[in-house]
């Protein structure tokens, strides 16, 4: 138990409003001046099933879920009951309580809805409470909600109880509810909130409870944003006004945001028959000069393989998203994994020409989305943002000023009609859209409807005007020019700082990570250094073209490196070795693929494993030693 943070977990049935309640709670704490981080866990079902969201709050910097948590609000699963038979599906209804006990820290708090959950049905409950010194508050939240309003408002009652126990000013929640709720339901909710708050203070002696919410202060105004929102807003500010997609968890979140906002600004959103069509529509729109995107998750992205290759070959600028989830095949649709890395890098036939970004948090999601559009349109190349279910729904506070930037609708080297008139044409009259000679690899384009700009775009290898050509000299010239684009992009990205160094520069050991695991690695690095170890991390945000210089420098600067990733086949370590051509004996791997993201403590333990050769006691992670160890 620490004084300087609160990790609050709200658990209940999927469909019980856990997500919105936790979001409001996180926002209230953010407004009070704390840094916040949310971690959600949910099944692939519409209603029912065990779901929870954690809100972690601390005064300065939260970049990860914690190890365990200290406050459980167990609401009961209202969808677990079979209304026809008055029966329970096993012990579903008590799961919000029973399933969350393993991670609850010693001295932690349990508030559970005694109106829905019978603690006697939880095996060894009393014994575990005593052993762990938990403080238990059985409250009839449902009864209170029914009495003052409607049953669904029991979430509010739970939040009221939380405020009383964790010493959170109830006004913070009141203010937020006033902003967020329609008037009709606001009054009863406020009443229920206060009633629960007062009831706890009246009925319980809280002097023994050590769990409390810290206080903090921000230097500037903050906003609560998740990864999907970050990506969508980044795309929006780059002038993306066309999206095509097919629903698939978790990519749907970005698709939903864009579909809501685009029509209001004269943009176009298309929900289409499949992901092949979705990516093809993005290509069709981009071909006419519009800034366009599409995306999917693992299986849907697999369907985009062939259009992705078409975008590469026809040099059509599009941005694709890949919101990875646990695979193979349908895998675990609502669980995060980083096992689509190789899929995204290599799918589609032929030598690939693509750029892949991997943001680590919601602020980076915004930055990378903007960069992805800039690179795509500047270099006429498909760019992909690889993220995952974790980052997709993970909320963090970000300074509001982070988003206060100028829009950029620029579509790259696209000629005007006057410029086309001056530009080289083939003797037959067609505009030479694919010239061999540009140094940076980028041959300016025209778009349909422009006078004098006719050319053929093709998935076939083609000559300078776009006509199908299998001439060897032309082939080599075109392949080389397309490759030069990647070299130019690498040079441009070297100035960007999208790969982030963390920890003491002169550290002895290194941790390498990409994407959504970065925040957790950072916390582990902090803890290790606090414990007297000497560790730093490199978060790689650009996966292709690979930042060879930066990664090599990092690996060279330390004695050993542990590569942390959420998959079973150590894909990121493999990529690093392939790109750098060495370091097999220097790189170990810490892997996790059980459907849950790493906790910082697991990385700390993995580090001791790689450095001290300690046996791991955690069977949810897998340690793979460096070659020769």
């Amino acid at each position: 138990m620490t004084d300087d943070e609160l990790i609050w977990r709200i658990a209940g049935g999927s469909g019980d409003g856990i997500a919105s309640t936790s979001q409001n709670f996180a926002k209230a704490l953010m407004r009070s001046g704390l840094d916040v981080f949310t971690h959600r866990h949910y099944p692939s079902r519409i209603r029912g099933g065990h779901t929870y969201t954690e809100v972690r709050a601390a005064p300065d910097g939260v970049t990860s879920r914690g190890d365990g948590y200290d406050f459980l609000l167990a609401l009961g699963d209202s969808f677990a009951r079979n209304p026809q038979e008055e029966a329970y599906y096993g012990t579903e209804e008590i799961k919000p309580l029973s399933e969350n006990l393993d991670d609850l820290r010693e001295g932690g708090v349990i508030v559970y809805d005694s109106g829905l959950i019978d603690a006697d049905e939880v095996p060894n409950f009393d014994q575990r409470v005593e052993e762990n010194d938990w403080h238990v508050f059985p409250l009839d939240l449902r009864g209170l909600a029914r009495e003052k309003g409607r049953e669904v408002m029991r979430n509010t009652a739970g939040v009221g109880a939380t405020c009383a126990i964790a010493d959170i000013p109830v006004e913070a929640i009141e203010e937020l509810m006033t902003d967020a709720m329609p008037e009709k339901i606001l009054e009863p909710n406020l009443e229920i909130l206060n009633e629960a708050y007062d009831a706890v203070l009246e009925d319980y002696d809280l002097s023994g409870v050590e769990v409390s919410c810290p206080e903090g202060e921000h230097e500037e105004e903050q906003v609560l944003v998740n990864g999907s929102e970050g990506i969508a807003y980044g795309a929006f500010d780059e002038g993306c006004r066309f999206i095509a997609g097919y629903p698939m968890t978790p990519w749907t979140e970005v698709f939903t945001i864009m579909s809501k906002v685009l029509p209001d600004v004269g943009g176009i959103s298309e929900q289409v028959e499949d992901e092949i069509a979705a990516a093809s529509l993005a290509i069709g729109a981009a071909h006419t000069g519009v800034k366009a995107m599409s995306g999917s998750s693992g299986g849907g992205f697999a369907l985009m393989s062939e259009p992705l290759g078409l975008a590469e070959m026809s040099e059509t600028p599009i941005v694709l998203l890949e919101a990875a989830r646990a695979g193979p095949s349908t895998g675990m649709p609502t669980k995060p994994e980083q096992a689509d890395l190789e899929h995204v890098l290599y799918t589609s036939q032929g030598d690939s020409n693509r750029v892949v970004f991997a943001p680590a948090d919601p602020a980076e999601a915004y930055d990378h989305a903007r960069r992805a559009f800039q690179i795509a349109y500047e270099y006429q190349i498909p760019t992909i943002i690889l993220y995952d279910q974790k980052l997709s729904g993970e909320y963090r506070n970000v300074p509001a000023s982070h988003f206060d930037r100028e829009p950029n609708p620029d579509i790259g080297q696209t000629l005007t009609e006057d410029q086309i008139a001056e530009a080289p044409h083939e003797p037959g009259g067609k505009f030479q859209r694919f010239r061999h000679e540009p140094e940076d690899g980028v041959s300016p384009r025209s778009v349909p409807g422009q006078k004098g700009g006719r050319f053929l775009a093709s998935g076939n290898e083609h000559n300078e005007a776009g006509h199908i050509s299998e001439d060897p000299d032309n082939r080599v010239a075109q392949v080389d020019r397309r490759s030069r684009k990647l070299e130019s992009i690498r040079e441009e990205l070297n100035e960007d700082g999208l790969n982030v160094n963390y920890g003491p520069e002169d550290a002895d050991y290194g941790v390498l990570a990409f994407g959504s695991m970065v925040g957790t690695v950072e916390e582990a690095v902090d803890r290790l250094n606090d414990d007297g170890e000497s560790v730093k991390a490199l978060a790689v945000g650009e996966l292709a073209p690979f930042p060879e210089g930066e990664v090599r420098e990092f690996i060279e600067s330390v004695d050993r490196v542990m590569v942390v990733e959420m998959n079973a086949s150590a894909q990121f370590r493999g990529l690093t070795q392939k790109q750098l051509g060495e370091y097999g004996p220097k790189l170990s791997s810490l892997l996790k693929y059980n459907g849950n993201p790493f906790e910082p403590g697991e990385i700390v333990e993995g580090f001791h494993n790689t450095v001290d050769g300690e046996e791991t006691t955690d069977h949810q992670t897998t340690f793979v030693p460096a070659a020769g160890d």
Partner: protein, 312 residues
């Protein structure tokens, strides 16, 4: 002022403007029906008043996919079966373009069948020409979705056990608002039907019978053909859905009995195009989206102004 001065330009258009200045050697075999499509299209576009620079031909893969290699307009030679989704987005992004999609029977009715169904259902405002030679030509003569039952090929050595696709009926049922069949051997009818298809506001599907003299020697050259709109033996009203459906069914069945029926089978001028439908619900911009990126005066919206307050 438009960034696309070719769009909507009013002038006399010569048929040979659609012939490339240096004509590439076609990869089509002598006697191939694909030449008929090329000729009909070159004839129809000037009559419909559309210029090469405002025309975008989007093709799939196969002999048919080479159409825009021999045709002087903006072109996009896409991948197998995917011409329609590329064409749809181009038309939505810049509705002023004259978009012509084309592909073969394998491309459109086989691998791209899902897109065909949904494009017809949504009634996108462009013309789709399917080169139907009842065979896979470019890959050297395999049985295709329109090959007749019993058709023998190297991939179906015992003869196909499958009934062929019924392309006209499929288009009608999926929602196409203009459905026609023509044949390469009938260039005047082909040109007229393509012109009508171009002028139609909605998805216009033309099943274009193109004989393959190399790989489908057994098949008829689609002669003699009968124009069901002209021939007195056939009486039906193409604006009547039930009568159109019956005529289509007879046409599809008689093809393999040696009777080649062609003509305009169905037209529904009343059904709004997809673009109009989207405009009706406020999901389509009034001005072409493609113009905005060339408009230096456009005041681009920012997330900071539109969304960020909700996150405070």
């Amino acid at each position: 002022m438009s960034a696309f001065s070719a769009i909507g330009e009013e002038r006399e258009i010569e048929q040979d403007e659609y012939t490339p200045g240096i004509e590439p050697q076609p990869t089509w075999c002598p006697g191939c029906g694909d030449f008929g499509v090329l000729k009909a299209l070159k004839g129809a576009l000037p009559e419909a008043g559309r210029t090469p620079d405002e025309t975008l031909t989007v093709t799939g893969i196969g002999c048919s996919g080479k159409l825009n290699s021999y045709f002087n307009s903006y072109g996009f030679h896409t991948i197998h079966g995917r011409a329609l989704p590329v064409a749809r987005a181009a038309k939505l992004a810049n509705p002023g373009l004259e978009v012509i999609a084309a592909g073969g029977d394998g491309d459109g009715y086989g691998i791209g069948g899902n897109h065909f169904m949904h494009t017809a259902r949504e009634n996108h405002d462009f013309t789709y020409i399917v080169f139907n030679n009842e065979i896979f030509g470019l890959t050297k003569g395999q049985t295709s979705p329109t090959s007749p039952k019993g058709h023998k090929s190297k991939t179906q050595p015992h003869g196909s056990a499958k009934e062929p696709i019924r392309p006209l009926s499929m288009a009608l049922n999926a929602g196409a608002s203009f459905v026609a069949r023509t044949a390469a051997v009938n260039p005047n009818q082909a040109k007229e039907l393509i012109k009508e298809a171009i002028e139609h506001d909605g998805f216009a599907h033309i099943d274009f019978l193109t004989q393959c003299p190399t790989w489908n020697k057994d098949a008829k050259q689609y002669v003699p053909y009968i124009d069901v709109n002209e021939n007195d033996d056939y009486e039906f009203d193409p604006t009547n859905r039930d009568e159109a459906a019956a005529m289509m069914r007879e046409t599809e069945e008689s093809l393999h009995e040696g009777k080649v029926l062609t003509g305009k089978y169905y037209v529904d001028e009343g059904r709004p195009s997809y673009q109009q439908e989207k405009q009706n619900i406020g999901e389509m911009p009034d001005e072409p989206l493609a113009e905005r990126y060339f408009d230096d005066d456009y005041d681009w919206e920012r997330s900071a102004d539109m969304f960020i307050d909700d996150h405070k």
